[in-house]
């Protein structure tokens, strides 16, 4: 087990810049999730750590060793690929033991390690099968097993669950997390699913267009997103945003409504800002000075009710755990705890 340090790492494909200087410190035993929209460079960064992609500038260190010029096979890193990359001409047992056989371990040691990993992953029954005789979830486990037997310094995962159905994804998510708690191997996990990121990570790295937007624990990102991108990306349904100008006593929305804000002090008067509030932080109120909304669509999920409404011409979503009986067209008053609201500069997108 080992830490991973990424210093000013850049990646160019020809003239195209894909990563514009990434700095990241992954601590020993930590589970770090890289999350971001498609094409933001997550896989590229992961593959650079793995040694499958050259580094255009900057340094990558595993432990104290700069590995820029160390080939993949010598980095002692295990990786789980998105489509598993199981060797189709080998049985599950052979797939899992391949790396150990390359290291010329004795048969007994190999056998013990493979059976141990198979036990952990519930694969004991399938050791003689070939990969194409397995279900998606089982293949996924074999791919994990192949990484597991190696006792590598670092585990890398590139969207390992994206080929599974929704239910299995939740199960495997928990299994991977439990596995990490048990083995404590430093892990870097790539996903574009923010729920996966929130539930699994010790720390999340939110990436966008080749840059890091914010690094923090799941709750830090949820409570204090550093900018509009993170605020929008983390949380489901997404945070509501209302654009306006800071005025005496509150926020003046586009249609002239004044939204009372307690702490206007976070910006300067006349500044264009974006006000953010999460759907689950909105509450119903009787007070007519609050935000008036017109209900458009009601979606009960069982655990809660999601209400899509219009406020001052812009869409807004609210989630209630109590069972209210909303009707389309109905006018409701909404209020919130100001501690849980967010204010961003409209021009830069940064948190105020």
């Amino acid at each position: 087990m080992s830490s991973v340090t990424i210093r000013g790492v850049r990646k160019k494909y020809g003239a195209m810049d894909v990563l514009h200087g990434i700095d990241l410190e992954i601590r020993d035993r930590e589970f770090v999730v890289l999350v971001g929209p498609s094409g933001c460079g997550k896989s590229t960064l992961l593959r650079m750590i793995a040694g499958l992609e050259s580094i255009s500038a900057g340094d990558i260190l595993i432990g104290d060793r700069v590995v820029n010029d160390v080939p993949a096979k010598a980095r002692d890193i295990a990786m789980v690929f998105q489509n598993y990359a199981l060797y189709p001409h080998m049985s599950v047992y052979e797939n899992m033991s391949f790396s150990l056989r390359l290291k010329r371990m004795t048969k007994d040691v190999i056998d013990r390690k493979v059976r141990e990993a198979a036990e952990i992953l519930n694969l004991s029954k399938f050791l003689d099968r070939s990969p194409r005789q397995l279900s998606g979830g089982q293949r996924q486990r074999v791919a994990m097993g192949r990484a597991l037997v190696r006792d590598a310094q670092v585990f890398l995962f590139d969207e390992p669950l994206s080929n599974l159905d929704a239910k299995l994804r939740v199960v495997m998510r928990t299994e991977i997390k439990a596995l990490h708690q048990r083995l404590q191997t430093t892990s870097v996990y790539v996903t574009h699913d923010q729920i996966e990121a929130m539930t699994m990570a010790d720390r999340i790295v939110v990436m966008n267009a080749g840059r890091i937007e914010q690094i923090g624990t799941p709750l830090e990102l949820y409570d204090t997103p550093a900018n509009l991108f993170v605020a929008d990306f983390i949380g489901s349904p997404s945070m509501n945003f209302l654009r306006g100008t800071l005025d005496n006593g509150g926020l003046r929305l586009a249609d002239g409504t004044l939204l009372p804000l307690e702490k206007v002090g976070r910006g300067t008067l006349g500044q264009k800002v974006v006000f953010g509030i999460r759907p689950e932080h909105l509450v119903l109120s009787e007070d007519s000075r609050n935000l008036a909304a017109e209900v458009e669509v009601v979606e009960p999920t069982g655990a809660n009710i999601q209400v899509y409404a219009k406020v001052a011409g812009s869409p807004l979503c609210a989630v209630f755990t109590e069972r209210h009986d909303f009707r389309p067209g109905q006018r409701i008053m909404l209020s919130w705890d100001y501690e849980r609201s967010h204010l961003f500069d409209d021009a830069t997108g940064q948190r105020l």
């Binding site: 499958l52 096979k73 990786m79 489509n83 990359a85 189709p88 001409h89 391949f98 390359l102 192949r146």
Partner: protein, 276 residues
């Protein structure tokens, strides 16, 4: 009648003209090969014969030096196949996996070489082999056959290699394999079906090649089968057609049987290669 049988009959009816065209020469070949000499030119021609003469084959074997020509053909075809594969596999791998300047031009060049018939080049090749001192040497055929087939084998192998996911090799590297190890233990086993197809193709092309063999080989003990059979017909006062046909049967049928059997193995190999 079920609709399925109707459909089958219809398909066979549509295919039958083609089958006649393909099978007719084989029919003539067989019938002539097992006829007594006296019945060769019966008129009107018939499909029957008074006696099934296996002896035609043994007589032919001795008279035409069939064994020697067979060995020559085997030597040339197998060597050409091995040389072509050994050289095409790295070329196709590089084309499939690496980026290098002039890759597109190289592919087009390969394709263009395929548009030239060997007969156009035969004079130049002959002079080249003269210069190399390889005229009348079977190895000249090995070289030219391998060279002529490589454009196709490289194309064929490259498109198959492209379908083998890169992930597999990358996974092997992560598992601690060197490039060579991942090539030998992961990549090549998965490429076997493509290698079998290209080997069959090269082998058959070399086995049947006539023009170059006729040009390069001067002495009869170096003749390959097509040339040796041709020698039984060309410039003879009297052609022993039953021997010629017996020789053609022996030159084509065993190869056809072996490859139709290999083809079955091939389809299985293709299914095995399916990854995902």
């Amino acid at each position: 009648m079920t609709s399925k049988t109707t459909r089958s009959i219809l398909y066979w009816a549509i295919l039958s003209p083609l089958m006649v065209v393909i099978l007719f020469p084989f029919g003539v070949m067989f019938v002539t090969a097992v006829r007594p000499r006296a019945e060769l030119f019966t008129y009107p021609p018939t499909w029957g014969f008074s006696e099934f003469r296996w002896e035609n084959f043994s007589e032919m074997w001795v008279k035409t030096n069939f064994g020697g020509a067979l060995l020559n053909s085997l030597y040339v075809s197998i060597s050409a196949t091995v040389v072509a594969l050994v050289l095409s596999i790295p070329a196709a791998y590089a084309m499939s996996r690496y980026r290098f300047a002039g890759k597109g031009a190289y592919r087009t060049f390969l394709l263009m070489t395929q548009m030239m018939s060997p007969i156009v080049l035969v004079l130049g090749l002959f002079r080249l082999m003269m210069a190399l001192g390889l005229v009348n040497d079977l190895n000249s055929l090995v070289l030219t056959y391998a060279a002529f087939n490589m454009a196709f084998t490289i194309w064929m192998l490259q498109s198959y290699f492209n379908s083998i996911p890169r992930d597999l090799e990358e996974a092997a590297w992560m598992d601690g394999a060197s490039h060579l190890t991942s090539l030998v233990r992961i990549f090549l086993p998965l490429a076997v079906p493509a290698m079998v197809v290209t080997a069959i193709f090269t082998f058959i092309n070399s086995w049947n090649e006539f023009v170059l063999a006729l040009t390069m080989m001067r002495s009869s003990e170096d003749f390959t089968l097509p040339v040796q059979i041709y020698a039984q017909v060309a410039g003879r006062y009297q052609v022993e057609w039953h021997h010629v046909m017996a020789a053609t049967v022996l030159a084509t049928v065993p190869v056809a049987i072996v490859f139709s059997w290999l083809q079955r193995y091939l389809i299985r190999g293709m299914a095995l290669g399916a990854v995902k």
